[in-house]
């Protein structure tokens, strides 16, 4: 029983990060039908922003060597600000890597490459400015909370509990926004049929920006939280999550918000179930699931049936 609870806790806390990550992908996909390969870089930026905002100093490498913000914000304040800054960067990425293609009516496939270019630029910009060393959000950021909690024999790190809680709140807010507000409904309309949405007077350009902004915000928050949990391993920090997020995205169903959450939790749990002896195969779990899912049910768990022509 303890074991089961332990697996559940481990799986959920990892799955929550995957879910947050995939949500960002899915928001952009729902309005544009393409994948934003710069998403991982924005996640990384979120972690760096959080680190700088709490007053973390840059080490001895990079152009900003020795730099430190004059103020050190508490973590709970730094995190949302980092989210907003990441959202701003995501809007910038939309502007340089997506909008020009849309204006020219170019093949949406090209956005895979332009967004990859934007991601490469962001990652290397971080390295240029702050070097490649790891940066850490101090373990004391959570105040006097103990480093780990136990629930009936199962142990979990406090950071992971926080991650799970924040993700749950964010997903709840996002769902409420999509279902309960005018702009949320507009987003839905654009994702279902951009042409009709346009005829109904919905500004699709604006909706695309909202989707990018939200996706950047979520990525930034996820980055900051993961940075607190495992420290920022350098500019390439987000890449692993970026690839796995793809698996989650397709498993849940491209463009489906509840699907992204479900996909994240399933893959998190599945990875937690891999026995230690076979942990080398853990990274293949997400993709194995994804591959099978594509063959059995290409639209994913909660996606809409696919149109005949793409």
């Amino acid at each position: 029983m303890d074991d089961l609870l332990q697996i559940l806790l481990n799986g959920l806390s990892v799955g929550a990060v995957y879910a947050l990550f995939a949500l960002g992908y899915t928001l952009v996909f729902s309005v544009l039908g393409v994948i934003n390969f710069a998403h991982g870089a924005i996640f990384t930026l979120g972690a760096y922003f959080t680190y700088l905002l709490i007053g973390g100093g840059v080490g001895s490498n990079g152009l900003l060597a020795g730099f430190q913000l004059p103020v050190g914000l508490p973590f709970w304040l730094a995190l949302p600000i980092a989210g907003l800054l990441s959202a701003a960067v995501a809007l910038g990425v939309e502007r340089v890597a997506f909008r020009p293609l849309r204006k020219r009516n170019a093949d949406p496939l090209l956005a895979l490459i332009t967004s990859l270019g934007a991601g490469v630029i962001l990652v290397n910009l971080i390295q240029l400015l702050m070097g490649a060393e790891s940066h850490s959000i101090p373990t004391g950021s959570l105040g006097s909370l103990p480093p780990a909690l136990s629930f009936g024999g199962a142990h979990i790190r406090t950071v992971q509990v926080l991650l799970l809680a924040v993700s749950t709140v964010l997903v709840g807010l996002l769902t409420a926004w999509i279902d309960g507000t005018r702009s949320g409904k507009g987003l839905q309309a654009v994702s279902e049929d951009p042409v009709t949405a346009q005829l109904l007077g919905i500004n699709s350009g604006q909706m695309i920006q909202i989707a990018f902004g939200l996706s950047g915000f979520l990525a930034g928050i996820a980055g900051g939280l993961v940075g607190l949990s495992v420290s920022i391993a350098g500019p390439y920090f987000g890449i692993g999550y970026g690839i796995k997020g793809l698996g989650v995205l397709v498993l849940g169903g491209l463009g489906s918000v509840p699907g992204a959450v479900l996909g994240g939790l399933i893959i998190g749990l599945a990875e937690a179930l891999v026995p230690s002896d076979l942990s080398g195969y853990k990274d293949a779990v997400a993709f194995g699931f994804l591959f099978l899912m594509l063959l059995v049910r290409p639209q994913g768990l909660l996606g809409k049936p696919l149109p005949n022509k793409v």
């Binding site: 332990q6 697996i7 481990n10 806390s13 990892v14 001895s60 490498n61 290397n124 390295q127 070097g131 490649a132 060393e133 790891s134 940066h135 850490s136 101090p138 373990t139 004391g140 480093p147 780990a148 199962a154 142990h155 979990i156 790190r157 992971q160 993961v226 949990s229 495992v230 420290s231 391993a233 350098g234 390439y236 890449i239 692993g240 990875e271 937690a272 230690s276 942990s279 080398g280 853990k282 990274d283």
Partner: protein
Amino acid sequence: MGQMIRRPSSCKPQLAKWLKAWLKGLLIAFPVAATTACQAPQSQVDNRFPIGAVIALTGNYSIIGQDQRIGLELAQQVFSKREPKTELLIEDGGSDELTATNAFRSQISRGAIALIGPSNSQQAFAADPLADRAGVPVVAASNTANGIPEIGHFISRVSAPVSVVAPLSIAAAIKLNPGLHRTAIFYTQDDAYSTSEFKNFEIAAHKKHLEIVTVQRTNSGEMDFQKQINDNLSLKPELIVISAGPSDGGNLVRQLRELGYGGPIVAGNGMNSPNIFPVCQRYCDGLLIAQAYSPELATPINNSFLKLYQQRNHGATPPQFSAQAFTAYQVIHQALQTLQATLPKGTTIASLPLQDLRQRLNRQILSGTYATPLGDIRFTPDGEIRQNNFYVAQVKMNPDGTTGRFRLLP
């Protein structure tokens, strides 16, 4: 162009046009530029002998590469003033095999008399054979996997292999905690250095009659080890041995402590850098790591290395990787110096054809003895380092929880 700057209002379409023209020009000019710009100099650069370093400045291993860069630049500062004049050429070897191989090639064609690098063993297995075939001496500064000098006649290293270093820290842990028995090992299974070090840890543990209760395999880039730690702690280990890179290893230590492990931890060479302090923070305290370098070694060369390093890094203690990189440069420079001195009258090393110089330099590197920051070292005929002094350090963190130092055990 000038007009464009003065009239910003009409700048945008023109800029786009200009950019477009520029990009088109770039594409067309590429093959031309490539053929002209890459005409490599075949001998010295400005009468200096180029020493090529290929270290990881980008990617996961850049944490090690940045330590090495400092060591190399300090060596350049010390030795470039002495005859024969040498020049340090640093190339980014990335963290993958392909980039390292490319960087080796480019250094070789630029006429490097000898090479230092690449940063990790995995890259060395790919890149070193090229240098060996081209007849260019390579002095590895941080490759510790078994089998590196055996790659070829031209390959040597100043980084003591895991087989020599790994047992020391386990012995130290037993000395500090007599009665240890149940041991758990974590290692990164998709990395050449780590798998090699793991085997040596395993052998060392058997020799000391420790019982290995579990072996946990992690993957490079992985950072959340909660599950493996829980599986592992339920087996009640009394000693945990880790072979991993600086950031994944640091995270592993932190998470082990957070989840309640209180016993001793032995870490491998991959975590042998102050760069782990910000990762495991106050939880780094007490970590045991074997060292091939001691800042406390009181020799003239180490004193001057220490002084230079501290001037540059606000009084910090130099890590092993910086000391080893410094040593690699020193070995090459000193061998070149000896070569110069032993040539028959009338010939100078500058008059030797490059290929001949590289060959003689390799012979000289392997036959010399060197007083370095690592202590007195020499090489076996294979190119393996013979080093007298090894140490085991215990990490001592400062009360701020983010800075600390490696304190040598007596």
